[in-house]
Structures are given as structure tokens and as C-alpha cells.
Amino acid sequence: MSEQHNSHEENEHHIVSPFTYLAILLALLGFTGLTVWMSFIDLGEWHITHGVTLFWNPVVALAIACAKMTLVVLFFMHVKYSTKLTKLTVASGFFVFLVLISMTLTDYMSRAWGRW
């Protein structure tokens, strides 16, 4: 059977209630406040090894952004109630995006290792 029949059965077009939307809105605004507030605090850094340092501020800011994104994707964009195919599509999008970033970085990061 192709998906249209499956999805028809498992997904009787779920309607999300306005209260959920409202809760998400508040959460998003809360996160926005949080990230702005956090950005003014020096969260310090973590010296992993000599010369390799992780700064917490951008990490936290991006973590909050990811949390916000997840809320939007799951609820506003209904992915939580969608078919596996939609979930897979979203996941593959992030996967290829990460491939672009990480594989390019393999070059830039390892350039410093040797004398080339």
C-alpha cells in the first residue's frame, strides 16, 4: 500500500487546540526573554585542551534557538501529529545541512593540524 492510504488511516487530520498554540507561544516568548537575558551574562568558557576552548554563550544561545525551533516544528507545523514520512523529511533536511557544515569543517579544522 502506498502512503496515502496509510496516512489516511493513522492521521485523521489532527486538529491542534488553540490552548496548545497559546502555551507554545508563551514558551517561545519565554525562551526569547531567556536567551536575551543570558546573552548579557558571561557564562565563561571551557578549556577542553590547550588552545581548544568552548565558549558557553553561543552554545547556550544556539541550544535555546534549537529548543524554540523544535517547538515550532512540532506544534505550529504539526510534525508531532504528522506521518513518518514528514518526520523523515524534516530529519533528512537537518542531516544534509549538518553534512554541509561538518564536512566543510573537516577541512577548515584540520588545516591547523599540520604544516599544509
Partner: protein, 251 residues
């Protein structure tokens, strides 16, 4: 064709009985039509992810290379406007989601209200953005067109920002020239985002006109739903642009 051998007689012909008017001829059922267009929208959003992906990659690299320039240049952005815009966009995402809900519940008045609100909030976002752009123009921070590095070579010449960030050192000439890169990426990324907003608002205008004649409250929510996906996606891009451009070097 009598000899088309794969054809079984009338097994699926029942799909032809009760079509709603909005069902396109080549779909068997409304669900199929909804699933297909919804899936297509998601795929389109994937292409958008990759489209912005290139810009994010460039930003990541340049920020790591010219950290000092990027930090001081980002102090030029107005965090108040940025936060306001984030809130506006999140609100518009909410009203859009409510718009989809109204269409699903077949409430025409509510749909019009929420689409209208979304439209207004979208315009508000662009308004705030244009205020920010004007600010940049006045301060000669538009790379290529109206550019000066003065406020980075000598932060004291820009008392407004300098007061808030007294720790900012004067940048050496070679580093100061890299602030132009920051603003280039700033304009490229926010500009590309604003372009998506403008496209979104144009489609929204068209939708509001159609919604008045009840086009989306007759059970055919695909269009509203798909536009909602697009609108939320544009919101998500901003959710990442905001911390990356405005926030991460404020402490």
C-alpha cells in the same frame, strides 16, 4: 483501451463519485491531494534549509576567522529592535497557526482576523527591519554602498555604542576592515530573510482576498496549511539569525 491489460475493472472507480470542487482532476481522493501538496511544501522547505545553509556556513567560518571584528560589529546592532522583532515574528507565527486552526474549524471570520493579524505583524517586522536598516545607512554601515570603518578604528567616535560596551578595543586596521564582512553577511542573511517575508506577505494578501469569499473555510485547508508551514519556516530562520547576529557576543 480494451487491451490495456493492467486495468482492473472499476476497482477504484468509486473515487469518482463525490469530488469536492477543489479536488484536482489527477488526484484520486482529497486526502491524496492534501498529502501530496503538504509533502511538496515540506520538500520545498528542505531546499530552503539548504539555501540558507550556504549562508550559515559562510557566517560560521568568517566569524571564527575574524572573531574580534564580528564581536565589535555585532555591538552595533540594536538588541531592543532585535528582541522586538523576534517577539513580533513569534506572535505572527502564533496567529498564523490560529489561522490554520480557524480554517480547519471552518470559521471564516476568525480566519480573516488571524490572517489579517499575521499580515499586520509581518508588516511590523519589515517596518522594524527597515528602521534598523536606516540606522545602518546613517552610520555608514552598509558595505559596498555606504561604508566607513570609523566606529571600529575608534570606538570612542561612536559614543552611543561605546557607552554600552566600554570594553571594546579599537580594532587594528586589518581587523577593522573585516567588520565589513560581518555587515555584508548581516545584510545578506537578514535581507534574504526579509525577501522571504515580503514574498510571504504578498501571498498572504492574495489569501486574505480569497478567504473573504470563503475559499478556505469549505474544508479545503491545504493552501492555508501549506502557507502556514512556509511562514513558520521563515520564523525559524529568524529564530537562528537573532542569536547568531545579535546575541552571542554581548557579555
Amino acid at each position: 483501451m480494451s487491451d490495456s491489460t493492467a486495468v482492473a475493472n472499476g476497482a477504484v472507480a468509486d473515487a469518482h463519485h463525490h469530488h469536492p470542487s477543489y479536488q484536482r482532476h489527477h488526484f484520486e481522493t482529497v486526502e491524496q491531494q492534501f498529502d501530496a501538496t503538504n509533502f511538496a511544501m515540506w520538500l520545498f522547505l528542505l531546499t530552503e534549509v539548504m539555501f540558507f545553509g550556504g549562508l550559515f556556513m559562510a557566517y560560521l567560518l568568517m566569524r571564527n576567522w575574524y572573531y574580534q571584528a564580528f564581536v565589535e560589529a555585532s555591538h552595533q546592532l540594536n538588541i531592543g529592535w532585535g528582541t522586538a522583532n523576534t517577539a513580533v515574528l513569534i506572535l505572527s507565527s502564533f496567529t498564523m497557526a490560529m489561522g490554520v486552526w480557524s480554517a480547519e474549524m471552518r470559521k471564516k471570520k476568525l480566519l480573516l482576523l488571524f490572517l489579517g493579524l499575521t499580515w499586520l505583524l509581518g508588516m511590523a517586522f519589515l517596518g522594524i527591519k527597515s528602521i534598523e536598516y536606516t540606522e545602518k545607512w546613517e552610520k555608514h554601515h552598509v558595505p559596498g554602498l555606504n561604508w566607513s570603518e570609523a566606529s571600529f578604528l575608534n570606538p570612542a567616535s561612536d559614543p552611543e555604542v561605546h557607552e554600552k560596551y566600554p570594553k571594546d578595543q579599537p580594532l587594528s586596521a586589518d581587523m577593522a576592515s573585516k567588520t565589513e564582512m560581518y555587515f555584508f553577511l548581516y545584510f545578506a542573511m537578514t535581507g534574504m530573510h526579509a525577501l522571504h517575508m515580503i514574498i510571504g506577505i504578498s501571498i498572504l494578501t492574495f489569501m486574505i482576498i480569497r478567504a473573504r469569499s470563503g475559499a478556505y473555510t469549505n474544508g479545503h485547508v491545504t493552501y492555508v496549511e501549506n502557507f502556514g508551514l512556509y511562514w513558520h519556516f521563515v520564523d525559524i530562520i529568524w529564530i537562528f539569525l537573532f542569536p547568531l547576529l545579535y546575541l552571542i557576543s554581548r557579555y
